[in-house]
Each structure stands twice: as C-alpha cells, then as structure tokens.
Symmetry: D2
C-alpha cells in the first residue's frame, strides 16, 4: 500500500492579496514545498548535485474549490502518479480539516545539469526512482 | 476578427531561482498581469468596486516548453476562449521572439463581493462582458 | 527577564535566486513571520478585527552578514525594543546554528481600520500592549 | 550635474496584501528593479559574467510614508550615494505624482563569483565604476 505524503503548513500574511484570500499563485508553491519535503522524507535533497541532474517543470495545474485565508492551517496530500523513464507526475489535494480546497497536478522532467550547458532530458537515476517509489500509486 | 491581447514584460532578478531560470510559479502571475492589462485596455479595472463583484480563480494550468532567464523580454498573448454566464476562460502563449515558451489557461468565476459575506457565484455584469468581447475568440 | 521570541524556519526553493542564495527581500518576510508567530504566542492574531486597528510598517532595515541557502534551517530571534503610545519597534537576529546571518529592525504603527476610510494613527489598545510586553526588553 | 535614474512601474495585484495595500517587502524589490534598470541604462547587465563578480546586499532599509495600491503608477528615483573600493551605496525615493511614498537605501558589495567557491569581497572593476559614475551624487 503506497503512502501519500502529508505536508502541513500555515498561511503567511504576504501570501494573501487584497481580496482577503491567498493569491492562487501560492498554491503551486505549496505543491512544490510538499514535493521537496517528500524528497527529504525519502532521504534526498531535490537540489543535490550528486547525480548532476535538475528537475524543471513540464506542466502544472490547479483546480480551486475554496479559498485559503491568513493563518489557516492546511495540509498538502501529495502522491506520485507515475515515474516514467524521464519524467515524474505528481498529484495533490489541499485539505483544511475535512474540506478539500484545491486539487493539483505537476509533471517534472529529469534533465542534465552542468554550468553553461543547455538542459537536456535524461533518464531518471535508478536510485532516485527507487527511493521515491514508496510514494507511488500502485499500478 | 477578435484581437488577442499582447502584454510585454521583462524578467526581474527576484523571479529567477537557483536553477538560473524563472521559477514556474511566476508564469501564473505573468498570465494574470496580462489579464489585468487587458481589462485596462477594455477601459476597466478588475478591482473596480462599481459592480460589487470579484474574480477568484476556478482553475489555472501551464505547459512549459522553454525556460525564461533574467532580463529576457517576452510577450504574453492572451485570448478569451469563452464568456459564459458566470465564468470567463482565458488561454495564453508566452513568446520570446518567435519561440513559444509556455501555454497557459485560466478560468475565473464572477462572485458577489461584500465585507464579511462569503463569496457566491453570480452572473457576469453585461457591461463587463460587452467590453471584454473584443478579445473573445469567434464562436 | 523578558523573553526573546524564537521562530524556526527552513529555506524554500522559490526563495533562492540565480546567485544561488536567498533573495534579500525574503529576510523582511521572515522577520514578519516571526512577528506574527510572536503575536500568536501572546494569544492574539495581528489580523484580528476585534480592535478595528491595523499595523502598517513605518520602517524596516536589515544588515546582511552571511547568505542563506536552499533547505538551510535557521531561526529568527525577535525582541520588542519599544512599545510607545502609537508604535512598536522590533529588532531581530537571524541565526543558523551559532552564526549570525543578519540583523533586522522594524517599526510598525497602530492605525484605525475601517472599510473605505483612510488609515489614521491611533493609540495601541492597552490589552495588546500588555500581552506583548512579555517580549519587551527591560527598560 | 549627476543624473538621478527614474524608473516607472505599476502595482500588480499579487503585490497587495489583505490590508489592501502593497506589502512592504515589495518596496525592496522595486528598489532593486530600478538598480538593474540603471545598470542597463549604463550599458551593462548586473548579472554579466564578464567580470566574474557578483553583488550581494550588505544592507537595505526603507522608511514608509504613504501606502501604494493596486494599479497605482509610481516612480523610483535612484541615485548612487557612494562608490567605494568594494561597495556601492544607493538611495531612492518612491514618488506617486508629487507625493513621496517611501525613502530607501541599499548597500551592495562586489564579490568574486565562481562555481563552488565561497564569495569573497573584491575591488569593483574600474569599467563598472566609470559607467555608473554618471548616476553618482557630486562629492
């Protein structure tokens, strides 16, 4: 049974806008915070230089159901939908108590990373895929 | 023939991250900047209190094709895909010279806005729909 | 003996810039996060509408000694330097382990808050001053 | 007679907070935007790799007099107060029409920049100092 990764967070003041709610651009950052915390939970840093790879975004989306407000405590529930040869697809739900506030998806590519050289798609290192697989949905 | 709205912008330093490219969360803000500039072009402010309505996001997505870097000059080409009774759907392309960097969509709902009262979906004021229709794709 | 308030935080990816360090604008947000956490520790929300007041900034400054990097864990040590009739002055130090990374100050004014009415300087409610005084330096 | 550099800007929606005004952290970013535009006006990019130097902040401060609101058009008037051997000191005023909204200062150090090597204070390249001197206050 794969685990989903749960990341807790509180809304900061500068994340609100003059409509009195969290600006929608922050939800993508919350999803990324959860991703990086998931990698730490798997014993890795996404910015590690060990494998000389980087992880630019290929796509990201959110549907918004209810607003978030200053000092709200919420949870990002993040899962890995698929680890293919060169990409990882995540999905998440933002929960506040039992209410689903938003649902997001994110696809990220594994690319070579070297100073002064353009990024190029490359195979996900096997050790990374293995460590992340605990958060992957069953096929 | 409906016009698409073109919004020019230059990348700021604080929009980059340690990967040396614009953080993906900024693309959603660029799309919104273009939306608000489109409304100004149509003679309106999206934050006008005249109609007692607000415009929270229902959904937003991006596909990312090429990265943006510090001081890059780019253009958001924004169109209105649909104005329904209570929502507006936009789509956009981010262009740098002739290269398409990203493609985005955004759906926003018209809601009642009053201090201390929860937002509630409401009909788009006819005057707003009329003014925006110049940027709408033909049916 | 007045307590200083200690607020722990980890650096997020989107807080870094292409120089590979946290962009300096974030330090002001970290100082504010600590302020709001201090108010919660004192049993209050700085955004409470109970007293019909708001807290705009009068001044803020930072000296930067060492950089912060992605996933660094650090601590904001926040003190109240002075609570005058209508303003509060804070000072803080950002620490990573035993290294002082930065030193900041912030002055905030108490103003009346009502929809559609300009902000006007006003006396700090006695209950707020009393609750915060535990974090005030001795005279 | 030295010129001050004038940089025009409009407030974006995501720069406001739930108090209905621009969050104070943005003023530091506006000051930096003006700095980078000043360097471009002087024929340079502050991120140029030509001289293998970087420009981290040593200090930055603002005094805030009046708030900025969504879609306000304002101007940053930036001057160089001093170019010393290894640092540059700027000062600026934020103006909206004839009203002074805020006054800021910023000190930045010239440091060596090389992958994997700690930053170290170094002399400002003579060509950079010469190009910027047009914006320097008279002694």
């Amino acid at each position: 049974m794969p685990r989903e990764f749960r990341y807790k967070r509180r809304v900061e003041f500068y994340e609100t806008d003059q409509a009195g709610i969290v600006h929608f651009s922050w939800f993508y950052r919350y999803m990324e915070e959860a991703e990086h915390a998931m990698w730490r939970e798997a014993g890795m840093s996404i910015a590690s230089t060990e494998f000389h790879v980087g992880w630019p975004r290929v796509a990201a989306s959110f549907e918004f159901f209810k607003p978030l407000r200053f000092e709200d405590e919420f949870e990002v529930r993040l899962r890995i939908e698929e680890i293919s040869d060169k990409t990882i697809r995540y999905s998440c739900e933002l929960m506040k108590d039992d209410a689903k506030l938003a649902a997001g998806t994110m696809k990220t590519a594994c690319v070579t990373r070297a100073p002064g050289v353009p990024m190029k798609s490359t195979a996900i290192p096997a050790d990374i895929a293995a460590r992340l697989s605990v958060f992957k949905k069953e096929d």
